[in-house]
């Protein structure tokens, strides 16, 4: 299966702590993306990391990519209650498809 696997499936932390989510994939990719989904809403793109990049930052987000291990991680630093959401990794498969992982449900407790 090409499907990305994310772990943990669910994560609960206190406000102010850091949250780390991991994504593994099985195919060769040219980029990997992370998305956020608030409950019952559409997905919002957070960050894209290309296959020739190892680390990327955007505000409180830090993404790493290890193509040798076919894995990526998303770190949210100094979490806030508003960060509560599901987070998905996604990557292109073929010219026109974007394949999504199973997601990590993050709960940040105020």
């Amino acid at each position: 299966s090409q499907q990305g696997e994310e772990d943990p499936q669910a994560l609960s932390i206190q406000e102010g702590e850091n949250a780390t989510m991991n994504c593994s994939y099985k195919t060769s990719i040219n980029n990997l993306q992370w998305y956020r989904q608030n409950s019952g809403r559409g997905l919002v793109h957070l960050i894209l990391i290309r296959s020739n990049e190892r680390e990327k930052h955007s505000g409180r987000l830090r993404v790493t990519l290890d193509t040798s291990k076919k894995s990526s991680s998303l770190l949210i630093t100094a979490s806030r209650a508003a960060d509560t959401a599901s987070y998905f990794c996604a990557y292109p498969t073929g010219a026109n498809n974007l394949f999504f992982g199973t997601g990590t449900r993050l709960t940040v407790i105020p």
Partner: protein, 113 residues
Amino acid sequence: SQTIHQWPATLVQPVGSPLSLECTVEGTSNPNLYWYRQAAGRGLQLLFYSVGIGQISSEVPQNLSASRPQDRQFILSSKKLLLSDSGFYLCAWKKFVGWTEAFFGQGTRLTVV
């Protein structure tokens, strides 16, 4: 700026009834368009994508069909809904060339009763 509209937000339909979900994109031309379905607490399953008017690719054989009558309009349909068609349906678009980010609509919660 580009926007994507998807409606309705929620829908309750009886088994055997038809379905039509519509998605339109503004502010861009010749986008790739996508329909995904998300089961409760799960990831996204790609149902259909389209790279141009009248061009539809199906990823999963099922009770649904898609059409793209205009460049920025994408429709998901069914002639007869099944209970298993219940779920959260998401429309998305991306630029035709290259793999940058995808932009999603707000989704339609479909419950088949």
